[in-house]
C-alpha cells in the first residue's frame, strides 16, 4: 500500500502573494527588518489587511505567552507592532518582557503605550513593576499614584504602593525583591481580564492553571491573600460550584465528576481555594450582594469582604472587632474549626456589652454559619443563620448559607424556599438559580408533579429589601435602613463613583461612535453629558472641540481647547484644534501662534505644517477663500480622528471585522468610505509585479482616482507588458471608469493612447468577450466622449478603427 502513496507539491505560478519570501529560521531582528521592509516598501496593504495581520500576529503572541514561551511571544508582538502599532500589542509585549526580566525593553514598551494612551492603567502598573525592579522607587510610586488617580480602587496598585513605601522606609532594597516581583506579575495577569481586548483573555486563561499553582503555596501570607482573591475570584467561583457538590455529597456525583474533570489530582488544592473563593467570591461576584457581610466598605475588588472589613467596622466594640478579624483570617486560611470560637467569643462579647447593633451581630452569626457550613455542621449553621436572619431579616448571605445547609441535609423543600427568597432579593445570583433548578428536579422525582403543594410558603420579600443590579446605586441605604452609618454613605459614594465611571465610559464611546458616523450634534451631546460626570478628562474636551469644529461652532471649540490647555498646558491636539478654531474665527495670528506651538511640541505633525503654510498665506492675502480652506480642514481632521480612535480601542476594529464577516456585500461597501481615508500613494511601477500589486489594491478599494493617478504616470506603451496576463474584467472596468471620469477631462490624447495599448494586452479579447451589456455601454460612452473631444492627438479614423477592435 505504501508505495502507492504519493505526496506532491506544487508551486502555483498564477497566484501572487502579498509578502516577500522569507526564510523560516529567523531571529527576532531579521523578522523585524523584513516586516519593516514590507511596510516601508509600500506594497500597499490596505488598513483592513494591516489590522487583520496585526491582530493575527498578536493572537500568536498571546498563544505563545500562554504556553510559557515568552521569547517567541515577544517576537510575534514585535511583528504585530511593525505592521500596525497598537497600544495593546505594546502592552502585551511589555508583559512578556517583564516575564523575561528584560526590564529595559519593557520600560520602553510601557512608555510607548503611555505615549498613545497616557492613562492606560495596565501600562502604568507594568511600568511601576519595572521601576520597582530597577530600584527606581520614586518613579514606581509616581506611576502607582497615577493609577490610583484613575482607579482609586485598584487593589494591586494600593498593595504595591504600600510595599514600595515600606521598602523606601526600610531602605533595604534588594531584600526579597525576587519574590515580590513575582507576586506583582501574577496579579497583573489576572487583573487584565476582560479589560483589554479579546487577545488578553487568552493570556489570562492560558495562565490560569499555572498561576494558581504558583499562587497557592504562598497563600498563607496574609498580605498576599487579599489581592489575589479579588482577582482570581471569578475562576474559583466556578470551581467552587463543583466541589461544593462533592461536599454535599452523594446524589450529585455525576455532575461533580464532570465539573471536577479538570481538577483531578489538584482536588485538595482546589478545595482550599474553594473556601476562600466562596467566603468572599460566592456572593461577591455580583457586587450587590456584598452588603450584609460588609458592614464594611470592602466592596472594591471583592478583596475579601470578610477580612478587609474588620478595620473599618467602627460600630463593633474594638475587642469584638479584633476577634472578628482574627476569625476572618482563620476562615480565609481554611481553618474553620478555629474560626468558630473566635466568632463565638465576639458574639458573646457583643451581647454581654449589650450594645444593640443588630447588623454587626448578624454578620458575626452569618460568618460563624459559614464556618459551620464548611465544617459540615449543618444544623448549627441553620441555627446561626436563623439568628442572623432574626436580627436582619432578608439579608442575603445567611439566607444563602441556610439554603445550602438545608440542601446538604437533604431538606430540599426548605432549601428551595430559601433559594427562592434569595432570588427575590437578587435574581442575578447564579448559584441560587442553579440550585433552584437542581432542587426542582429532585423534588419532582420525590413528590411527583404536585411537589409545589408540599412546599412551605415562600415569604414575600418587601420591596425595600429587593436588590436590583442595574440601579444598585442606592441599594445600600435600602437594605439597611436601620443603620445609616457613615460607612454606608462612603460605600454609596464609592458605588456612585464607579457607576459614574462606567457611564462615563459608555457615553464617551457613544460619542466617539457618533463622530465616526459624522453625527457631530449627537456626539456633542454625549460628550457634554460625559463632562457633567467628569470635568477633568481632557480627551472629552478635545473630542468635543473637534465636533464643534465640524459644526463650524468655532467659539465653542476654542473654549473647549482653552479649558484643556488650562489643565494640560502642552496638549498637542488642543493646540491644533484651537488653531483651527482661530482660523475659523479668522484670527489668523492666534492660529499661527498655536500651530507653532504644535510644531514646537512635535515637529513631525504634517497637518500642522500644511495648515501653517496655508494660514500664513491667508494672513498675507488678507483672508481670501476662507470657505475653501474649511473644506480642506474637515478632511484632514477626519484622518486624524480615525487614527485617534485606533489608539483608543482595538475593540472597535475587532467589531468592525465581525460586522464585516456576518453582513453581506452591502456592509462591505459601506466600509469603503472609511478606507478611502488613507489614500493609496501611487509611485510609478517599474515592473509587472509592482503594477499588479497596485492594480489589485486599487481594484480592491475601487478607488478610481487612484487608478487614474496610476494611469497618468504609466506610459501607455508599457501597458501590455505591465499587465502581462493579469488583465481581468474588473481591472478592465476600473480602467475604463477612471479614464472616463478622471483623465478624459484633462488629456483625451492619453485616454486614446491607453485604450489603444490596452487592446494590445494579453487576454484582452477574452475580457472583452465576457463583458456584460451594461459594461459594454460604459465603454461605448467613453468612445462617444472621445469622439466629442477629438483633437490633433488622434484622428476620427483612428478612433473608428479602435472602436472596431473594441467590437463596438
Amino acid at each position: 500500500m505504501k508505495d502507492k502513496i504519493t505526496c506532491l507539491l506544487f508551486v502555483v505560478p498564477a497566484a501572487v502573494f502579498l509578502l516577500s519570501r522569507m526564510k523560516s529560521s529567523k531571529t527576532n531582528k531579521e523578522i523585524r527588518k523584513t516586516y519593516h521592509g514590507i511596510t516601508v516598501n509600500g506594497i500597499s496593504m490596505t488598513k483592513k489587511e494591516k489590522i487583520f495581520i496585526a491582530t493575527r500576529e498578536k493572537e500568536k503572541g498571546n498563544e505563545a505567552f500562554a504556553s510559557g514561551d515568552y521569547v517567541e511571544a515577544v517576537t510575534y508582538y514585535a511583528r504585530s507592532i511593525s505592521i500596525l502599532p497598537t497600544a495593546a500589542a505594546y502592552n502585551n509585549k511589555a508583559q512578556a518582557e517583564i516575564k523575561l526580566q528584560d526590564w529595559d525593553s519593557a520600560l520602553q514598551d510601557c512608555e510607548k503605550v503611555l505615549d498613545m494612551e497616557p492613562s492606560n492603567v495596565k501600562a502604568l502598573l507594568r511600568r511601576a513593576t519595572v521601576y520597582n525592579q530597577l530600584k527606581n522607587y520614586q518613579a514606581a510610586m509616581k506611576d502607582l499614584n497615577a493609577v490610583l488617580c484613575i482607579e482609586p480602587e485598584n487593589a494591586v496598585a494600593k498593595k504595591n504602593l504600600l510595599e514600595i513605601e515600606k521598602k523606601l522606609k526600610e531602605l533595604k532594597p534588594g531584600y526579597k525583591t525576587e519574590g515580590r516581583g513575582k507576586r506583582i506579575l501574577i496579579q497583573d495577569i489576572e487583573d487584565s481580564e476582560g479589560d483589554e481586548e479579546g487577545g488578553e483573555n487568552a493570556e489570562v486563561c492560558g495562565r490560569s492553571s499555572r498561576d494558581k499553582k504558583i499562587v497557592l503555596p504562598v497563600r498563607g501570607e496574609a498580605a498576599l491573600g487579599k489581592a489575589e482573591m479579588g482577582n482570581a475570584q471569578r475562576k474559583f467561583h466556578s470551581k467552587g460550584g463543583g466541589s461544593k457538590l462533592e461536599d454535599r455529597g452523594t446524589q450529585k456525583q455525576k455532575e461533580s465528576t464532570e465539573s471536577g474533570l479538570k481538577k483531578g489530582t489538584e482536588e485538595k488544592k482546589s478545595q482550599k481555594t474553594d473556601h476562600e473563593g466562596e467566603a468572599n467570591g460566592y456572593l461577591n461576584s455580583n457586587q450587590t450582594s456584598e452588603s450584609p457581610e460588609a458592614g464594611q466598605s470592602s466592596r472594591s475588588h471583592g478583596a475579601g469582604s470578610l477580612s478587609a472589613g474588620a478595620a473599618h467596622s467602627t460600630s463593633l466594640p474594638p475587642a469584638a472587632a479584633k476577634l472578628k478579624s482574627e476569625g476572618n483570617e482563620l476562615f480565609k486560611s481554611g481553618q474553620f474549626g478555629e474560626a468558630v470560637p473566635k466568632y463565638s467569643e465576639a458574639i458573646e462579647y457583643v451581647i454581654s456589652v449589650g450594645e444593640r447593633s443588630p447588623d454587626d451581630l448578624s454578620i458575626l452569626y452569618s460568618n460563624r454559619a459559614a464556618c459551620y457550613l464548611k465544617e459540615g455542621n449543618c444544623s448549627d449553621c441553620v441555627q446561626d443563620c436563623n439568628r442572623a436572619l432574626e436580627l436582619q431579616p432578608f439579608s442575603l448571605k445567611p439566607l444563602l448559607r441556610r439554603a445550602m445547609a438545608y440542601e446538604s441535609m437533604e431538606r430540599y423543600r426548605q432549601a428551595y424556599v430559601d433559594y427562592k427568597t434569595v432570588l427575590q432579593i437578587d435574581s442575578s445570583i447564579q448559584a441560587a438559580n442553579d440550585s433552584v433548578n437542581r432542587i426542582t428536579k429532585t423534588l419532582i422525582d420525590q413528590d411527583g408533579s404536585s411537589w409545589r403543594e408540599k412546599l412551605p410558603p415562600i415569604p414575600v420579600v418587601p420591596i425595600a429589601a429587593q436588590l436590583n443590579r442595574w440601579d444598585g446605586g442606592n441599594f445600600t441605604s435600602e437594605v439597611k435602613p436601620k443603620s445609616p452609618t457613615d460607612i454606608n454613605k462612603e460605600e454609596q459614594l464609592q458605588m456612585n463613583r464607579e457607576k459614574a465611571e462606567e457611564k462615563f465610559r459608555t457615553l464617551k464611546n457613544e460619542g466617539n461612535d457618533f463622530v465616526k458616523k459624522g453625527k457631530y450634534d449627537e456626539a456633542v451631546n454625549k460628550y457634554s453629558e460625559c463632562l457633567k460626570l467628569n470635568t477633568k478628562d481632557c480627551t472629552i474636551y478635545t473630542n468635543r472641540a473637534l465636533c464643534y469644529l465640524k459644526l463650524h461652532k468655532y467659539e465653542e471649540a476654542k473654549q473647549d481647547c482653552d479649558h484643556v490647555l488650562q489643565i494640560e498646558d502642552c496638549n498637542i491636539k488642543a493646540f491644533y484644534r484651537r488653531a483651527l478654531a482661530y482660523k475659523g474665527l479668522q484670527s489668523y495670528q492666534a492660529s499661527v501662534d498655536d500651530l507653532k506651538k504644535v510644531l514646537l511640541i512635535d515637529p513631525n505633525v504634517l497637518e500642522a505644517k500644511k495648515e501653517l503654510e496655508e494660514i500664513t498665506q491667508l494672513l498675507s492675502l488678507g483672508g481670501v477663500a476662507v470657505a475653501d480652506c474649511q473644506q480642506k480642514q474637515r478632511k484632514k481632521i477626519t484622518i486624524q480622528e480615525v487614527t485617534d480612535e485606533q489608539e483608543e480601542g482595538q475593540l472597535e476594529t475587532a467589531e468592525d471585522v465581525v460586522t464585516d464577516n456576518l453582513s453581506s456585500k452591502e456592509a462591505v461597501q459601506k466600509c469603503v468610505p472609511s478606507r478611502t481615508c488613507e489614500k493609496l500613494t501611487i509611485s510609478e511601477p517599474s515592473n509587472a509585479y509592482d503594477f499588479g500589486q497596485i492594480v489589485n489594491a486599487v481594484n480592491a478599494s475601487k478607488d478610481q482616482s487612484a487608478c487614474a493617478d496610476l494611469l497618468t504616470i504609466t506610459d501607455p506603451k508599457k501597458l501590455p507588458v505591465l499587465l502581462s496576463n493579469k488583465l481581468e474584467g474588473e481591472i478592465f472596468l476600473i480602467f475604463i471608469q477612471s479614464l472616463a471620469h478622471y483623465i478624459l477631462g484633462k488629456d483625451p490624447g492619453l485616454v486614446y493612447q491607453h485604450l489603444f495599448y490596452l487592446s494590445k494586452a494579453e487576454r484582452f479579447k477574452v475580457v472583452l468577450a465576457l463583458l456584460s451589456k451594461n459594461e459594454k455601454e460604459q465603454v461605448q460612452r467613453l468612445f462617444d466622449l472621445l469622439t466629442e473631444n477629438q483633437n490633433h492627438q488622434y484622428s476620427l479614423e483612428e478612433l473608428d478603427s479602435l472602436k472596431k477592435v473594441y467590437e463596438l
Partner: protein, 325 residues
C-alpha cells in the same frame, strides 16, 4: 446543569441545510459569511455549492457541477484579495478556481493517478511567508504543510511521517498502531508547535513538536475520545490550544491542550526531550447518526464553525465561551 456546566463552552447548532448530494468537505470563504460545500452527486459528478449565512439560514448563492466528484478543498494558498479555491478530485487533479468565474479553473494539474484525499496550502491569507504552496495526498495519505516547510502525512497502517521540504527528506516517523484519518498542526504560521493525529479506532494523539529527541522523537499524549473513527481534527484558528474532533457516530468533541509546567527536560544523556501536556474535554455533542466527515472553523469569527456529515447535511455551529477557556 451545575454552575460549572454553564461555564463551559456550549456547542449550538445555528443553522442546518440538507443537501441532495454527499458532502465531503465544507469551507468558510475567508472574510465573509459564505461557505462552500463540495461533494459528489448521485450520478457521479462533482458538486460545488456556495451558501451564504443570512438571518440564521443558509441561502444558496450558486451551484456548479463538475465532471469528477470533488473530495477536498482549501483556501490556504489564496491571498486575501483573490481568495482562489484549490480543490482535489476523484481523478487526482488539483484545480484552482476563481469563484467569481468558476467555469474554467485558473490552474489545473493532474498530480495523482487516483483520488486526492487531502489537500492543504500555505502562503495565502498572509499565512507564512513565501510563495503559495499546495500539497495534496492520495490513497489514505494526509498531508499538511507548515511554516518550517514540512509536510506531515498519515497513513492507513498507522504511520505518521514528517517530510522536510527544504532537504526533501524524511525528518521523523512514528506509528500510532491504527489507521490515521486526519492530521493537523495547531498553526501553520509558527514554528512547529503541536500536531494532532486522529485514528480509525477513536483515539487521537497530540505531539509536542517543539523538542525533538534524537531517538525518542516527539513527546505525545493520547486520548480515547469517540467510540468510533475520528474523522477530522481542526484547531481553532484564534486559539491553537483548542481543537475539535469529529467522530464516526456523529459526535463532536471540543478539547483543550494544557501545557506542562516545563515543556522540555534533559534525559540521562543530557539530550533535550519534550514533555507532553494534558488534554481536557471541554464539551461534547452529538449532532447526527452518521459520521461527520468535515469540519471547518471560521477564520474570522471565533467560535463559528461548519460541519458536513454523511446524513447529507451541513450544519453551522456556534461554540460559545471560547474566550474563557
Amino acid at each position: 446543569m451545575s454552575a460549572a456546566g454553564l461555564e463551559r463552552p456550549q456547542v449550538v447548532v445555528h443553522a442546518q441545510q440538507s443537501l441532495n448530494y454527499t458532502v465531503f468537505d465544507c469551507k468558510w470563504v475567508p472574510r465573509s459569511a459564505r461557505l462552500l460545500c463540495l461533494g459528489s452527486a448521485p450520478r457521479g459528478t462533482g458538486v460545488l455549492q456556495l451558501y451564504e449565512l443570512r438571518g440564521g439560514r443558509l441561502l444558496l448563492l450558486s451551484e456548479i457541477e463538475k465532471a469528477k466528484p470533488i473530495k477536498c478543498a482549501t483556501f490556504g494558498a489564496a491571498s486575501l484579495q483573490q481568495r482562489h479555491l484549490a480543490t482535489g478530485d476523484f481523478a487526482g487533479s488539483l484545480s484552482i478556481w476563481n469563484l467569481e468565474a468558476p467555469e474554467i479553473p485558473v490552474y489545473s494539474v493532474k498530480g495523482h493517478k487516483e483520488i486526492i484525499n487531502s489537500i492543504d496550502g500555505v502562503g495565502g491569507l498572509g499565512i507564512g511567508e513565501g510563495a503559495p504552496e499546495i500539497v495534496t495526498g492520495s490513497r489514505d495519505g494526509n498531508a499538511y504543510n507548515q511554516e518550517e516547510r514540512v509536510v506531515c502525512a498519515g497513513y492507513d497502517n498507522g504511520d505518521i511521517k514528517l517530510f522536510d521540504l527544504r532537504t526533501m527528506s524524511l525528518r521523523w516517523e512514528t506509528n500510532i498502531k491504527n489507521g490515521v484519518c486526519s492530521v493537523e498542526f495547531d498553526r501553520k504560521d509558527v514554528n512547529m508547535n503541536k500536531l494532532v493525529a486522529t485514528s480509525l479506532e477513536g483515539k487521537f494523539h497530540v505531539f509536542d513538536m517543539r523538542t525533538q529527541h534524537p531517538t525518542k522523537g516527539f513527546a505525545s499524549v493520547s486520548e480515547k475520545a469517540h467510540k468510533s473513527t475520528i474523522w477530522q481534527v481542526r484547531h481553532l484558528p484564534q486559539n491553537r490550544d483548542v481543537f475539535m474532533t469529529s467522530g464516526g457516530a456523529g459526535s463532536l468533541h471540543l478539547w483543550k491542550y494544557e501545557y506542562p509546567a516545563q515543556r522540555s527536560k534533559k534525559d540521562s544523556e543530557g539530550a533535550e526531550m519534550g514533555v507532553a501536556g494534558s488534554v481536557s474535554l471541554l464539551q461534547n455533542v452529538t449532532l447526527s447518526t452518521q459520521p461527520i466527515s468535515s469540519l471547518d472553523w471560521s477564520p474570522d469569527k471565533k467560535g463559528l464553525c461548519v460541519c458536513g456529515a454523511f446524513d447529507q447535511t451541513v450544519r453551522v455551529l456556534i461554540v460559545t465561551k471560547l474566550n474563557k477557556v
